[in-house]
Amino acid sequence: MRSGAFARAGAPLLAAAMLAFAPPAGATGLTGPEVRRVLQHGPWPQPVLRDPSNRASGQPDAIALGRRLFFDRRLALDGALSCAACHVPGRAFTDGRARARGRALLDRNTPSVLNVGLARWFGWDGAADSLWLQSVKPIVHPLELAADAAHVARLIRADPALACRYERAFGAARLAGADAEALLVDAGKALAAFLETLVTGRTPFDEFRDALARGDAAAAAAYPAAARRGLALFVGRGNCSFCHFGPAFTNGEFADVGVPYFVAPGRVDPGRHGGIRQLLADPRNLLGPYSDDASGAAASRTRHVALEHRNFGEFKVPGLREVARTAPYMHDGRLATLRDVVRHYSELDEDRLHADGERILRPLRLTPQESEDLVAFLESLSARAPARVIPPAGAPDECTTAEAAR
């Protein structure tokens, strides 16, 4: 699967760096094992592999259709909201709010959709096993776009630009004759194809990491000392990279890091526990008829995912690229700044963790200097200039102009 790319990518570079940095290079202040951990957080960017469950994945016309749909308010039943209203491109595809506001206040924080093509599960609770299912959900969610299949099918068929792209991506016969549910799922697949193209840029951390891999001490020295000390904490005593693992700084799984999960007095967010239950009951999951993966291999994770009591209060490990641009933090946005997040890990309330909880989490009791270092490191995970995505809404579509010229 996609994660395979993570594993393969690290190996040859690892060997090279071990040669270059054994014994531990005093210049970087990192020990041999720490250097190996650092190298595993790259290289960047990672290739986003085609999603076998989505025949539109990687297809230019589907990507163009998905891009239009993402910014199109008409996708909402009342025309009031688009995907981009919450996943705002200028805010690293988040909304800056603690909890998302749709037609009412939602329970959770809007995550960025950058690098989402590398993920295995979607949503804070992983209630979606494919990016296209995750893209269908907000369309029909009553507190988000609140549309239904008939509304989406009508919209695509009535709008020349959408219809033109749809026809090219999915075929004229489907555009003319498929049932509305099929068009809704196709819309999700087109949105997913677009989202897969949203990949973050190179960061100061990546320059440092690649300099380490090359054994280029002069280039490595350009990385600020505070960020380097923070990185040493991240891969060392902080144990952060056990969960925030690999090039995207997430292992793609779920954990309870002691963030309270009360939504309102007497009401809790069950996190991963609820997510697995929702997923298995969802007719659009990868075990259902809408997956395009005839081999069934893509559905393996869905077939094998285990529902355990400990999943209660677990949330998805967020990737940390561009994290300085995605405040506020955690599944309910309760922490306003990266300093607050670092304080959370520093003062971790062990009573709040499950009794059988993961021992890699302990209060770190960081000094003020160490806290600042960790923040400096997290800030070095952002590209100097954020990715720019220009909404196509209103602009003429190349597809329709080409058709007209025929």
């Binding site: 699967m1 594993a7 190996r36 292992n251 799984e253 393996s300 285990a306 059988d356």
Partner: protein
Amino acid sequence: MSGARALARRLAVPPLLALPLAAAAAEPCGARLGAGVERAESARYVVAFRPAPAPIAVGRAFALDAEVCPKRAAPRPTGLRVDAHMPEHRHGMNYRATVASAGGARYRAEGLLFHMPGRWQIVFDVEAGAEVERAVRDVPLE
């Protein structure tokens, strides 16, 4: 993993080759699984296994092709269960492997995924009628 491979080599020495029930008694347990076979051992069984894809990597789903070989006069295996956990972190996988018989004493376990670097243990429960015997094998992951 080099320590692990050394262990596998050590387990493959002649005494374990005397497998009265195996037709191809001249071969070490799991020889037919191909290159890169590793082994776990209990008092009365050897479980040879090979990950696919190999090697096991953090965050990459994998399957295990396995062969169970009784030592000396141990009863014939009738089933196999496969699970894994991280002893230091005191947690298991987020997935439950399914095991299908692949004929004879061979099995295929699917749906495993190790989601963290560190020391994992693969746990094989060999079933022989009502009896269950456990063979465990360490898998250190970078």
